[in-house]
Structure formats: C-alpha cells, structure tokens
Amino acid sequence: MSALPSYASTGQRAWYYGFRAICGMIFFFLIFPILIIVPLSFNAENFFTFTPEMLALDPAGYSLKHYEDFFTNPDWQQALRNSFAIAPVATLLATVLGTLAAIGLSQSHVPWRSAIMAVLISPMIVPLIISAAGMYFFYSRIGLQGTYLGVVLAHAALGTPFVIITVTATLVGFDRSLVRAAASLGANPVTTFFKVQMPLIVPGVVSGALFAFITSFDEVVVVLFLGSAGQKTLPWQMFTGLREQISPTILAVASLMVAISIALLTVLELLRRRSERLRGLTPS
C-alpha cells in the first residue's frame, strides 16, 4: 500500500486512488461534524446554519455574542464551576487508588488476579444507564443522592478502570532487572519505587488521570440521576439545552470543549513519546 509501483496496471491504479478517496471521505465524516460547529458558533444570528452573510464572509455575519452569553449567563457559569469542582477531585481519587491497585496487580504473584481485575474494570463495562440506575437507588438509601460527595464518588468509580489500564500498560513493559539492580546497589524498596519505578510509570499515571478527568468532565448520565440542581455540570446543562431550548450558546460551549480536547490530545501524545523514549524505544 505504501507506494504505487511503476508497473501497476490501470485497474490497480484506479483502485489505489479510489481507495484513498473512500478513506478521505470517511476521515471527512469523522472530523467534519466537530469542526463545523466552530464557525457556526460565531453566528451573529440565533440560527444553527450558515446565514448568507456568513457565506459571503461578511464580518457583520459573525459575532462573539454566544461566547459572551456563555461567560455572563449565571446558569452556564454555575455549570462550569460545578464541572471544575467535581472533575479534579474525582480524578485525584481515581488516580491515587487506581495507581496503587495497578502496581499491586502487576506483581508476579497475585491471588485471584482475574477475578479482582474483572471487578475493578466493571465500571467501564457496565452500561452507564445501569450504573446510574443502581447508584441512584443505592445512594438514595444512604443519603448520598443529590450531594456533591455522591457525584464525586460515582465519577471516581467510573474513572478508575482507565487509570488501572493505562498504568498497567506502562508496568507491563517495565524491566524488572532495574529494580534488582537498584536493590543490589543498596537502595531500599521505597527509594527504589520513587527513584526507579515512579519516573517510568508517570506517563501512564498522567494519561490515566487525563482519562479519569475526561470521564468525569464529560459524564452526563450518572450526574443527571445522582445530582441535584446544585451539581448541574456543563454536560448536564448542554443536555437540557439540547432537549429543550436549543440556544446557539451550546455551540460556543461545544467549541470551547473541542479546544480542551485538542489540548488533552496533545498532552497525551507528548507523554506517549516521552514514555517510549524513557524505555529506550524509538518513538514511532
């Protein structure tokens, strides 16, 4: 596939370019819906489509008013604050617990390993609506429904599988002789952990934390059931906005969130490269 040989027949040539055209269209399908909302969010009118002024690239067709609405509307601001009050705490909880467990799981002798793994990974597998239903029923019984703590605990639980998976992945490639080398040079286990192991698994921990963060930051089903008006997050506000009064402010929020995703993606890519370099692989 890499390059078309000079002896290729017409059919092969047609297929080569045809295939690339098809792939181009699929890539377009993947990326177009996400990019299209960015220009639409600058619409000067309250429409969800391009106005004639916008198509003519007339500056009068564009405005920042939907962004202004987002930054001044108390409902959106409250939602933004709630999102940032919930996600970091849930992330911290998920990352600390998840990292410890991943280190534990990567030991060579762990009793009932696969059973434990299945339980720990389950929040990722069970459909959100079922997690939400179960948590709603159970948290109602113990008084956590409609509380900040309830939402944080739920989000942390949903985020831990990602931390486990990413940290375990970095530990799989971990060369055990490094630990033995450290020990033979007189380092105690704690020093060995912080000086040898920790720097190597940090990329895994950070990307796990990013996953946990985005899980909480994007989560809407569980918070919809578990939260009360005091925990209304950004996705919740977007959900009610989409279901009821569709205001173009949603597009402004969506554009900002796309920017956040791009930032996250960049950080992850950098981490991946760093991790590979540290482990002596050439970055691909």
């Binding site: 996400i34 429409f47 009793p111 597998i125 179960g134 831990t160 375990t168 089903v221 597009l251 691909s284």
Partner: protein, 434 residues
C-alpha cells in the same frame, strides 16, 4: 517485587551451599521455606495495594448494582402494609371464583386503619396499580373511609359499599398474587408477560413494548456495529499500511473525535441533520432536493444510526488498527509472488489475520451501543430510542423502580454475556486506550 531477601535467595549459584542435600539461605533457613515466605509476603503486599480500590469499587459501584438486583424482585410492601390480610388470604382459594369471606375483610379493615394512620395505604395502591389499573384510587378511597366503618356490621358489605371492586375476585387475586416478599412480577413485566390465575402468559398485544424495544435495541446496535466495521476497516487498513509519520498524523483525525465530548458530537449532529440544518441547506443549494422536500434525518432511526456510528467509530478503528499493525507485510508479498491476485492475497491471506481485530472491535462497539442513552434521547425521536430510554423513564417519571431495575438487570446480563465472549477473544488485559 523483589526484595533484598529474595535477591540473596536467588543468588546461590555464586555462593554454593555448605550442605548439598538441603538448600538453605545464609541464615540457615531452608530455601524452600524462605521462598514460600517471600512469596506469601509478596502476595500480601500486592493485596494490600489493591485493597483500597477494591473496597472503594465494592462500596461505590458493586453495592449499587447488587441493590438494583435486589430491587428487581423485592416486594415487601404488601406484606408490610397489610400483614393480617395477607395471613388471612392464605386460606382463600383464588380459583374459587368468589371473593373471600368476612374474616379477610375484618383483617383488611384492621390493617387499613393502621395503614391510613401511617399513610402507607396509598403507597401500596400505587404499587399494585402497576399490576392492575384502578388499585390506586381504590386504596385512596377506602383508606379515607376506613375509620368511619361500623364495627357492628359485617365489613364485607361495607367495603363493597365503598367500591364494588372489593367484591371482585380479580382484585383479591392480584392482592394474593403479589403478597409474597419476593416477586417475579417486575421481570415478567420486563418481558411483556403477566401472571394470571392460569399461570404466566404474554400480555395483550397492544401492551407489549419491552420485547419490541429489546429487539430494536439489538437491531440498531447491530446496524451501528456493521456501519462502524464498514467505515472503520478501510481506515484501520490505511493507517496500518502507511509509513509511521503519515499514519500518526492521520491518527489525530481518529483520536480527536474520540476525545471530544459526547454531547459536543451529539449537538453537532443535531445541528447538521435538522430540516433547517447545514446538510439540508447544502442539498437544497445544490438542487438535489427541493426546498419543500427537505430530508427528515433527525428524530428517527436514521438520526440515531448516523450519530452513533460517528461516536463509536474510533472504538472500532483502534482495536482493528492494533491488530493490523502486527500483521507482517511479507505474507501478502509471498502470496503475490506465488501468483495470487491482489484480491486473493487480501481475502485469503490478509483478511483472515484481521479477524481477531474485527471480533474485538465489533463486540466493543456492540457493548457500548446497547447501553446508550444520551444520543438516542436527543436525536432518536420515537422510532430511534433504546431500552435505556425506557429505563430512565421508569426511574424518573413513572416511579416504577422495580420495573426499571428488572429491565436494567436484563440489559446488564446481556452485556456481561457479551463481555465474557470479548474476554475469551481478546482478554480484559489487552484492552488498550488511545
């Protein structure tokens, strides 16, 4: 992990033991014992590291799921509210065709007096109303008048005087049928069945909805899975075949949607697909459709399929890609050099090697899609909704939590079964992210 202790235990080759028949460590402990001890210590340490999270997940996640299982069969309300009546009803033959006699009514009166005092009778009415319409007002009405009954006169006549339904055998059959502490009623409801005196049977045709919704959830999920495979396979193939530099760049086009909020993508589709939206505007502009004939692509199955295919596509591409990446190009080259055409080389040599990737991606997409709630709710209209939407409805609108739990348990069972298959094919440990 290795400690200094085990290091010395693992060092014998350099340090031959004094007694050749029993290997010991330097302090004289037999090697076997020392190793066992080290192993035990290692196991303990691993478990200690895992314990906090395990406890956390059990409390915050597994307990809620267990609670849901319990709610789907729990039915203590009848026996708790009307304990004497339930006891008295035990002797009544529900197939007799006659309402029970005076003792049962006397028990009911005694129970209702207490229940009305505690205001639990209307609650029971709401519960039984799920099984038989009219129970709600029957209990509300009767509870209001229970304390005004004349103790000297027969209760049966007085109850029937309040509402004829008390003289109806059907009322009592429902009461008796749902008096046990545990019930299968919610599960039967969840598969469009009901309990009658003749046993379990399907509900009348115009009330069957859940089997239909389950079937539709499966059908839509399969369609979405097929669409994802169709679109994902060429992309994964291209990414695996291109040189690393280019494929890494193109990979961003797959990862960006993956990292973008679900609601952002759903709103994008809502904007694009509506009748006054970008796609319709474009089609009208090109003249492909007339202004009056704008396509209806949202609030129906089409909307759900398009939006969810887009949302789940990265989950198909990533596992496919990771499998294809490991396939050595030399097999295809060998096939071609032996005279195979491009198609034969692909179909007979390359494709079979990608089957594990297809299996992994398909099951992953399928599992994710059958539990979806948000996207169908926003773009599905009436024909594009899933069973999850009905579960949400029963939790927050109809308050029939037992039925919601039963539907949830059925859905969960389906997912776990699929996941078991996934584990057999791919293994949980091989789940990769990003």
């Amino acid at each position: 992990m290795t400690t200094t202790d085990t290091v010395s235990a693992a060092a014998p080759p350099a340090d031959p033991p004094p007694q050749p028949q029993v290997l010991t460590t330097r302090d004289g402990t037999p090697l076997k014992v020392s190793l066992a001890r080290a192993l035990r210590r290692e196991k303990m340490r691993a478990l200690l590291l895992i314990a906090p999270l395990l406890l956390f997940i059990v409390l915050t996640f597994a307990a809620p799921i267990a609670d849901m299982l319990f709610r789907s069969v729990e039915n203590g309300i009848v026996a708790n509210t009307l304990p004497k009546t339930v006891e008295a009803l035990a002797d009544w033959d529900e197939t007799s065709g006659e309402a029970p006699g005076e003792p049962v009514f006397a028990a009911l009166h005694a129970d209702l007096l207490i229940a009305a005092e505690e205001k639990t009778h209307t609650r029971l009415g709401s519960r039984l109303n799920y099984e038989s319409s009219g129970m709600s007002s029957l209990f509300r009405k009767t509870g209001r008048r229970a304390d005004r009954m004349d103790d000297a006169l027969p209760y049966k006549a007085q109850f029937i005087d309040i509402d004829d339904d008390w003289g109806d055998v059907a009322t009592w059959q429902v009461l008796k049928r749902f008096s046990p502490e545990l019930t299968s009623g919610y599960f039967l409801n969840a598969v469009d069945m009901q309990m009658t005196t003749d046993g379990v049977e399907l509900k009348p045709e115009n009330e069957r909805i859940y089997l239909f919704l389950f079937a539709r959830t499966l059908f839509l999920s399969l369609t979405i899975m097929a669409c994802c495979l169709l679109l994902g396979y060429p992309i994964a193939y291209l990414l695996a075949a291109l040189p690393a530099r280019t494929s890494n760049l193109l990979m961003i086009l797959v990862l960006l949607p993956f990292w973008t909020s679900l609601l952002v993508r759903t709103s994008a589709w809502k904007v694009l697909l509506q009748q006054q939206g970008v796609i319709n505007d474009f089609l009208v502009w090109t003249g492909l459709v007339s202004d009056a004939g704008r396509l209806v692509m949202i609030n129906n199955q089409t909307g759900t399929i398009i939006a969810m295919t887009h949302i789940l596509l990265p989950f198909m591409i990533l596992p496919l890609y990771s499998v294809m990446k490991t396939i050595s190009p030399s097999y295809v080259r060998a096939a071609k050099s032996l005279g195979a055409t491009d198609w034969t080389a692909f179909w007979r040599v390359y494709f079979p090697q990608t089957v594990p990737g297809i299996g992994a991606g398909s099951i992953l997409v399928f599992i994710l899609s059958i539990g979806y709630y948000i996207t169908p709710e926003l773009v599905g209209g009436t024909s594009g909704i899933f069973i999850s939407n009905r579960i949400a409805y029963h939790i927050s609108s109809s308050l029939n939590w037992g039925l919601a739990a039963a539907l949830g348990v059925l859905l969960l069972a389906a997912v776990l079964l699929l996941f078991y298959v996934y584990d057999k094919i791919v293994g949980i440990d091989n789940v990769k992210l990003g």
